[in-house]
């Protein structure tokens, strides 16, 4: 069952590659939150109940509901246009993300450790690199934040791979999540929108040598 969920998760990455509108990105992030909820539920069922509740609440409430709603609010408030404005055509994105997944498959064959299941490793790493790819190839600051959130999801999957033995690490991952969301989104909603009207990375190019 976890394998099915993880594969669906990998498919959402491909969908990210061809998505046009920011709203689609937000929906994908929400879906990923729900998928992580499922994976965490099945995988961590052995750890103590309080901790499990905490992890599940974090995935479903923060990742699945709060952050997507918040991103939606930021988009409306700052009147950000709907298009994701990639530098590269979507077809190329799709190919590159596929290549990322294939590359992590090949990389995972180098592992000779029976305790860590390879599918976690593959999905986590490809999520990570897809997030980086999204950051590099999109114009708007808000898509950079979304790319970062995708990276966070990848890290969360990776921490689940060892979740039963070291649940403390899953909690640390959640701490990272909370920290980063407060941080990036907090600054975003407060200031960037007020100072720079249509938010675009091109406006952040004055500091250089």
């Amino acid at each position: 069952m976890t394998n099915v969920l993880l594969i669906i998760f990998a498919i959402t990455l491909l969908y990210l590659g061809i998505a046009h509108r920011l709203l689609t990105y937000i929906k994908i992030l929400a879906l990923q939150g729900v998928l992580l909820f499922g994976i965490a539920f099945i995988e961590l069922i052995e750890i103590n109940a309080a901790n499990l509740t905490f992890v599940l609440l974090e995935t479903i409430v923060i990742k699945g509901i709060a952050i997507p709603l918040f991103l939606n609010y930021v988009m409306k408030r700052n009147r950000i246009t709907r298009d994701a404005e990639p530098f590269l055509p979507n077809f190329v994105s799709l190919i590159i993300i596929t290549l990322i997944i294939i590359a992590t498959f090949i990389l995972s064959n180098a592992i000779d450790d029976s305790r860590i299941s390879k599918i976690y490793f593959v999905v986590a790493l490809s999520t990570l690199f897809t997030g980086l790819y999204i950051i590099v190839t999109r114009h708007k600051i808000i898509t950079h934040v979304m790319g970062y959130l995708i990276i966070e999801n990848g890290v969360f999957i990776l921490s689940l791979a060892l979740g039963n033995e070291m649940p403390a690490l899953v909690n640390l991952g959640i701490l990272l999540d909370v920290f980063a969301s407060v941080f990036l989104l907090g600054i975003f909603v407060n200031r960037v929108g007020d100072v720079l009207k249509d938010v675009d990375v091109d406006q952040l190019k004055s500091l250089k040598d």
Partner: protein, 475 residues
């Protein structure tokens, strides 16, 4: 005592945040400094104690703690001068002091923590506090600097976390699940090599954002440039040391594992690229503060070379870290005065500094000699030892390239500093420039004096502490 300090530090920071009364603010800051000094003295007198499970005062922590306390006092003083020199919004002033106190507390905790996960948490907190300081001026460009700093630091913190995850994958083979540095050191030879390599790459890359090495150095440059100069002094001295602590403590573990020489190659590449990047930018940078920031990148590279070379290089690396913190913070403190006279940071707008601020110009000249590691600077001693260890470790070609690059850096640095000191400024109106009180430079003289003293005639206690800090590295 650590518990009291952490509660007190963050508590005072919260009080500073909510308080709007001037007198109470100064009282709170004095209390914070007393707490900081008291805590440092306590830890100095009780070396090796572990408190709250996760904080132990080993010799490296004590050395850096004392460095931090010495720098924090002038940092608050110069912040006071900076903030009272203009009509500032009381809310912004409150946020400034509160985040400075929080930053210092978090840095302290990061020095003391003996568990890589705890170090990681406090490094997160330093990013949070530092970003409030960088954003202090609240204009477009400081927003840009803050945004870049936050984003790059968030990414690098994530990288460190991934590294910690990989590290935990390597643990079951050694039959343990404890991430404290001591335990990792004990089990170092039995950790799974594949995961350990990945862990090292990610943790090293993540901490380079704080230390200021290739690849993640970029955010630090903008941050040090846009932050007010007293805050810039903290960012380029004590906050850099946080990155060093993270890398160094993990490096001790790696040095006792089978991948030591492989890790040395990784660090060597990062260090050489850092010195190269610093050289390239130093020759063309026109902003004085950014020039200082690039000089920090160069010194971070030299410190890493000391680690790579081994032998006497380990000792020299720690010495270099401490002395560099003193030199660089005094340069940044002094930069605040330059800005007040010329209202500009560009090298084109400044000049003839001796005429307008004699004491400040002397500090600038001295600090330039000290930062480029010329005698009698203590950095000369540490750099010389690092070069010697490189020679002894048969890194002759590396040594030659580094020396060539350093020569270019000294030339570029000197060109700009002598322009500032002696060449008359173009179109500069001398009518109502601010008179700078010479007393404002006293702290810089003290810091520079310390650099000479600790470099040329180090007290026995100081040497013992450094030797204690490197005792777990293979000789």
């Amino acid at each position: 005592m650590t518990g009291i300090y952490l509660a007190g530090g963050f508590g005072l920071s919260a009080l500073l945040f909510f308080n709007r009364n001037k007198i109470i603010r100064y009282l709170l800051i004095t209390t914070f400094l007393l707490l900081q000094i008291g805590f440092t003295v306590y830890e100095y007198l009780h070396p090796g104690t572990t408190e709250l499970t996760y904080f132990s005062a080993d010799s490296l922590a004590i050395l850096l703690l004392v460095t931090l306390t010495i720098i924090s006092i002038p940092a608050f003083y110069h912040s006071y001068v900076y903030l009272s020199s203009k009509q500032d919004n009381p809310k912004h002033t409150a946020i400034y002091y509160a985040s400075m106190a929080a930053l210092l507390t978090a840095i302290n905790a990061a020095y003391l923590s003996n568990n890589i996960a705890v170090t990681w948490i406090f490094v997160e907190l330093t990013t949070l506090a530092a970003s409030a300081l960088i954003y202090h001026r609240r204009n477009n460009r400081s927003l840009e600097g803050t945004w870049k700093y936050v984003f790059v630091c968030a990414i690098s913190i994530t990288l460190v976390f991934i590294g910690i995850l990989f590290l935990s994958f390597s643990l079951p083979q050694a039959g343990t699940d404890d991430l404290s540095f001591n335990n990792l050191l004990k089990k170092a030879s039995r950790l799974n090599v594949f995961w350990l390599r990945l862990a090292f790459i990610f943790i090293f890359t993540g901490f380079t954002a704080k230390l200021g090495l290739v690849p993640m150095y970029t955010a630090g440059i903008d941050a040090k440039d846009k932050a007010p100069s007293p805050a810039g002094a903290l960012l380029s001295s004590v906050l850099m040391n946080v990155g060093f602590v993270g890398i160094f403590r993990f490096y001790i573990v790696i040095a006792n594992s089978p991948i030591h020489s492989w890790a040395n190659h990784v660090i060597l590449i990062a260090a050489m690229l850092s010195i190269f990047v610093a050289t390239v930018y130093m020759t063309r940078v026109k902003n004085i503060k950014r020039m200082f920031a690039y000089s920090s990148i160069e010194h971070a590279g030299i410190i890493m070379l000391g680690l790579v070379a081994g032998g006497v290089g380990y000792y020299a690396a720690i010495l270099h870290v401490i002395l560099h913190a003193f030199v660089k913070s005094s340069l940044f403190f002094q930069q605040g005065q330059i800005y007040r006279i010329y209202q500009s940071k560009s090298i084109y707008d400044v000049g003839n500094y001796f005429k307008y601020n004699l004491t400040g110009a002397i500090v600038m000249l001295l600090a330039f000699f000290f930062a480029t590691a010329m005698p009698p600077s203590g950095l000369f001693i540490s750099e010389f030892m690092i070069f010697r260890s490189l020679f002894e470790a048969n890194y002759l070609w590396i040594l030659i390239v580094v020396m060539l690059l350093l020569t270019v850096i000294i030339w570029a640095f000197g060109k700009n500093i002598f322009k500032l000191l002696f060449t008359p400024a173009v179109d500069f109106k001398e009518d109502n420039i601010e008179r700078i009180n010479p007393a404002e430079s006293i702290s810089q003289f003290i810091l520079l004096g310390l650099v000479v003293y600790l470099g040329l005639n180090p007290p026995q206690e100081f040497i013992t502490l450094i030797q204690e800090a490197i005792k777990n590295l293979p000789q």
